[in-house]
Symmetry: C2
Subunit: 251 residues, 2 copies
Amino acid sequence: MPTTHPHAEVLHADALTALPTLTPESVDCVLTDPPYNSGGRTPTERARQSTRGKYVSGSARHTLADFAGDNRDQRSYSYWLALVLAECLRACVPGGSCLVFSDWRQLPATSDALQAAGWTWRGIIVWRKPLNRPLRNGFRRECEYVLWGSSGPLADRDQPVYLPGLLTGSQPRAGRRHVTEKPVNVMAELVEICPPGGTILDPFTGSGTTGVAAVHAGRSFLGIEVTDHYAEIANARVLHAMQQAPAGNTA
Amino acid sequence: MPTTHPHAEVLHADALTALPTLTPESVDCVLTDPPYNSGGRTPTERARQSTRGKYVSGSARHTLADFAGDNRDQRSYSYWLALVLAECLRACVPGGSCLVFSDWRQLPATSDALQAAGWTWRGIIVWRKPLNRPLRNGFRRECEYVLWGSSGPLADRDQPVYLPGLLTGSQPRAGRRHVTEKPVNVMAELVEICPPGGTILDPFTGSGTTGVAAVHAGRSFLGIEVTDHYAEIANARVLHAMQQAPAGNTA
DNA sequence: CCTTGCGATGAATCCATAT
DNA sequence: GATATGGATTCATCGCAAG
């Protein structure tokens, strides 16, 4: 158990640039939500630099900023994600876990990347989104997925934990900061895979929900975010969470 | 709409032998649960163990028969499943759907096989199993998955349907006939992807739960099962279901 | 303060039309 | 002929205002 106070920080940088600068085995867990590179009807539309146009419909289209790095084809996606996750593995302690969000379409490619990077695939956590569109003459796409890997055998714990394999949580609506912002209750369950007092790394921080959940649970947080706009927002949110949570809380 | 009575039949044969004999475009939907080949950790373990040893713990071990075809490595699994699913595509009407069960470990390989066979991948349906073992220091494996594909663009319907993307149902325990028997309520939701009065093909019939659900929903059923023991059971169950459901019920 | 009702929305998708 | 664009579609859920 670390005797230092928990800390939290968001680097304003590209993941593939910043990750190699991290100290090996300096974090206990990786928890991240990469751009899925999944939407869009045509190659042109996928490659376009507006994630709002791809993912947000109706009148909400004008309110949120775009995010970067959502313009790869599927082959490049696997390759790029494998590079990122390999650097994450290097930065992570043996026995630590890696959790990566994915939609149904990219799930196989994400599992390839996770394993190509050297993580041992451990399972799939299902995130059910109550708010979703029906699909005519077919099955609703009402879930997203979190792929779980570990760096070698799972580390044992003083206090064993038993975590759920299916999480339910609505995407934030009012006051949403990011097109793909995750609900705090879902992130709160996921950060439990990190031992109390440990450090969580998120190379695609976005609006910083992972960091907020980490700090609230007494974990330290290291975020990386390339878009100015979101790096600022994430920093502010994480610092705010630090002020709420008394330093030293490792419950 | 067919004017003939619904019919149901289980062939006692190997899938790859029997499927090529089917008339092209003679079924409306494929719904099946292939042997997952994923229980053992090592090739030796996979090849040696009986299916009872792999999938059944405790006292149920004595009562259920082994089933065949569960000893392929992952590469062969994809290849073999692609062959089977390609034959299914040939037998299926354009616009028809294919639903294939998979566990988390085989999901990527199953999606490869589905697409290699020529089906258009449409999504993942999550099956939540309420009864499951917790996992120490990790996330429960409480879901299995159904991969959904279509033969080209989805066929339109007189009565559009909007189906759920997450199903909950407990595996049968008492009175279970097969090690991997599926709950009837889950199968009942899945058969709805087949137009009323249409025919459902299941090349790995097992104890015939798919057939029972199909008949109850007024669909015709064509099953294929290689193991004597299960082919008999499935035939009996499907015939029994036919007697319950009045012929001509296509509701 | 709790309940009711109305309106907006979703890491979309489909088809028809235009380029 | 291939690709791009526009507009319609669907409903459980959630926010918000009114009662």
